[in-house]
């Protein structure tokens, strides 16, 4: 296999406590730490391991979003991606629009494998990989916890509600990653220096078919209802008595 394409998204870091703006127009993102979506970091790590095992010769990382996203692309290059593609886009890019743009990149790059995170931890949509596979008319193996490549096939173990499911798909294919697929490497300082010299190209949305009008309009943001503060009990007996009084245990 020659090429793996990895798609990443810049999101609010998973450690940040999210607050909704008082006027309900969005969540507070000013001055907030931004990172590569953790699932996408796992996607990149998997691609790098495939290349390091000799399963691929090139790992290309791509993102769609404002100019600031180039920071995350540089991080991805420092992790070990060979080159990066930035598709500049301001404002909301819906999953279907993202899938269409990535399909445009696929037509230019012809990768044998595309790996994405199963969901971004900001919108929690869990759609883009599946949509890309549909538009590309290729297989999808979502929520992967293990990927084995042999020739022009991939055997993928998926985390499903019932347990673990294994699929075999023909390449090219789309894989989306779950948490336990791997543990992404840490970036070392010399790699950050090296990453500055790696190619980072810009591809305009207009060259990829454009971003259509949004189909799902956000009308309002709200904070979730808070649970009432409970009571502390002193020991197991008091707890069991409380639960019995409420009829929760017999």
């Amino acid at each position: 296999m020659k090429k793996v394409l990895v798609c990443i998204k810049r999101v609010v870091d998973f450690n940040v406590r999210i607050r909704v703006k008082p006027d309900g127009s969005g969540v507070v993102t000013d001055g907030v730490k931004m990172s590569i979506n953790p699932f996408d970091e796992i996607a990149l790590e998997e691609a790098l391991r495939i290349r390091e095992r000799g399963g691929a010769t090139e790992v290309v990382v791509a993102t769609i979003g404002p100019a600031d996203c180039q920071q995350q692309l540089r991080t991805a290059l420092a992790m070990g991606a060979d080159r990066a593609l930035h598709v500049p886009a301001d404002g909301q890019v819906e999953p279907l629009a993202a899938a269409r743009l990535i399909l445009g990149l696929i037509k230019r790059e012809s990768p044998e494998l595309v790996i994405l995170g199963k969901q971004a931890i900001d919108d929690d949509n869990n759609q883009t990989g599946q949509m890309l596979a549909a538009l590309w008319q290729r297989p999808q193996a979502t929520f992967a916890s293990k990927v084995e490549l042999t020739g022009d096939k991939a055997k993928v173990t998926r985390e499903v509600d019932a347990g673990l499911e294994t699929l075999e798909v023909d390449l090219p294919a789309v894989i989306t990653t779950d948490l336990r697929l791997n543990e992404p490497r840490y970036v070392k300082l010399p790699d950050i220096m090296k990453a500055k010299k790696k190619p980072l190209d810009t591809v305009q949305t207009t060259d990829l078919g454009g971003v259509g009008a949004p189909q799902v309009k956000v009308l309002k943001y709200e904070s979730p209802p808070q649970r009432k503060k409970g009571v502390m009990v002193k020991d197991a007996a008091e707890l069991v008595n409380a639960l019995r009084r409420k009829g929760l245990v017999s």
Partner: protein
């Protein structure tokens, strides 16, 4: 008038309870006519169960050997062929629906609404983002049908007791051969299913090992509970992945949730916020889990769990 198509989740014999919850969600769309589609190799048994759900207008049974296993690449073009004339296509926000529904949405040329938690109008819904730390109200543009997944913990299951007609359907759709089912390894258990259990006992990293995690199964059996786990416990190998509760695991809404040795990361809390009563047992009194617990007990779980087991068996 809204015509809603629900894609049934099942294992070939039994309808998954997530489907009945989708029916309740669909019933919230004013004037909805609700059809449930059962894709299977032989779907009569499942179709009969779907036909009993209150609120269902009709059941469409699509038998095809290719539908033996629920592969998104195989099912999506069939659902699209069936979706003609429907205004909404819904599936559960389980791994089945999360895998399948976006593929359908893309083929229908629309973005999906993920994890509907409330219906505010024919094309207006509420859904959680940022692991449930914000709720957005969204409106889907006119044109393509609404394709959505339903956050099952937000809706009660529609009761059985009705009798909708079952229609056999033949679809002439070219199905891809590029995706093949190999195997599934599911833990066989007599315990209640985590996603639908009334009571759940859940353990975290503090359990320390898979052997020690076993004590939670004994406690769960005392009160007929399902067993769950935090991501940390699953990552550490104390419990299998299908027990994970949280943003990227299962979202559950039991009557009673007992979190044992779970500190309560926001990613975990989003999976249990709809539980009626939350109990937290943790040795760290500052753990965030206590902020949302109805009953908190600070102490050593290795002392408390055996005590609970004894107290609950004394009755």
């Amino acid at each position: 008038m809204s015509q809603v198509l629900i894609v049934a989740e099942h294992d070939g014999r039994k309808l998954n309870p997530s489907t009945a919850r989708c029916v309740t969600c669909a019933s919230g769309i004013e004037g909805a006519q609700i059809a449930v589609a059962v894709f299977a190799s032989q779907g009569a048994e499942v179709a009969a169960q779907a036909a009993q759900l209150k609120g269902v207008t009709r059941v469409l049974q699509i038998d095809n050997p290719a539908n033996e296993h629920a592969l998104a690449a195989t099912l999506a073009p069939q659902v699209v062929a069936l979706a003609q004339g429907f205004t909404h296509v819904l599936g559960p926000s389980t791994t089945f629906g999360k895998d399948l529904m976006p593929r359908i949405a893309a083929l229908l040329g629309t973005t999906q609404v993920s994890d509907i938690m409330a219906v505010d109008g024919e094309r207006r819904f509420r859904r959680p983002i940022y692991a449930g730390n914000a709720i957005i109200t969204v409106e889907v543009a006119q044109g393509a049908p609404v394709v959505a997944t339903v956050r099952t913990a937000s809706f009660e299951a529609a009761p059985a007791g009705a009798g909708a007609p079952v229609e056999q359907q033949q679809l002439s759709v070219d199905l891809p051969a590029h995706t093949r089912f190999v195997s599934v390894s599911a833990a066989k258990t007599d315990r209640p299913d985590l996603q639908t259990a009334a009571r759940v006992i859940s353990g975290g990293r503090a359990l320390g090992s898979a052997e020690k995690f076993e004590m939670l199964y004994r406690l769960a059996d005392r009160i007929g509970a399902a067993v769950g786990a935090s991501r940390a416990a699953v990552d550490a190998g104390y419990a299998p992945n299908d027990l994970q509760v949280g943003q990227t695991g299962k979202i559950i809404a039991p009557e009673l949730y007992v979190a044992i040795g779970i500190s309560g990361a926001i990613q975990h809390l989003t999976g249990i916020k709809d539980a009626r009563t939350i109990v937290a047992i943790n040795k760290d009194g500052e753990a965030p889990i206590f902020e949302i617990a109805d009953y908190g007990l600070v102490g050593d779980l290795f002392t408390i769990v055996p005590e609970l087991e004894q107290l609950l068996s004394a009755n």
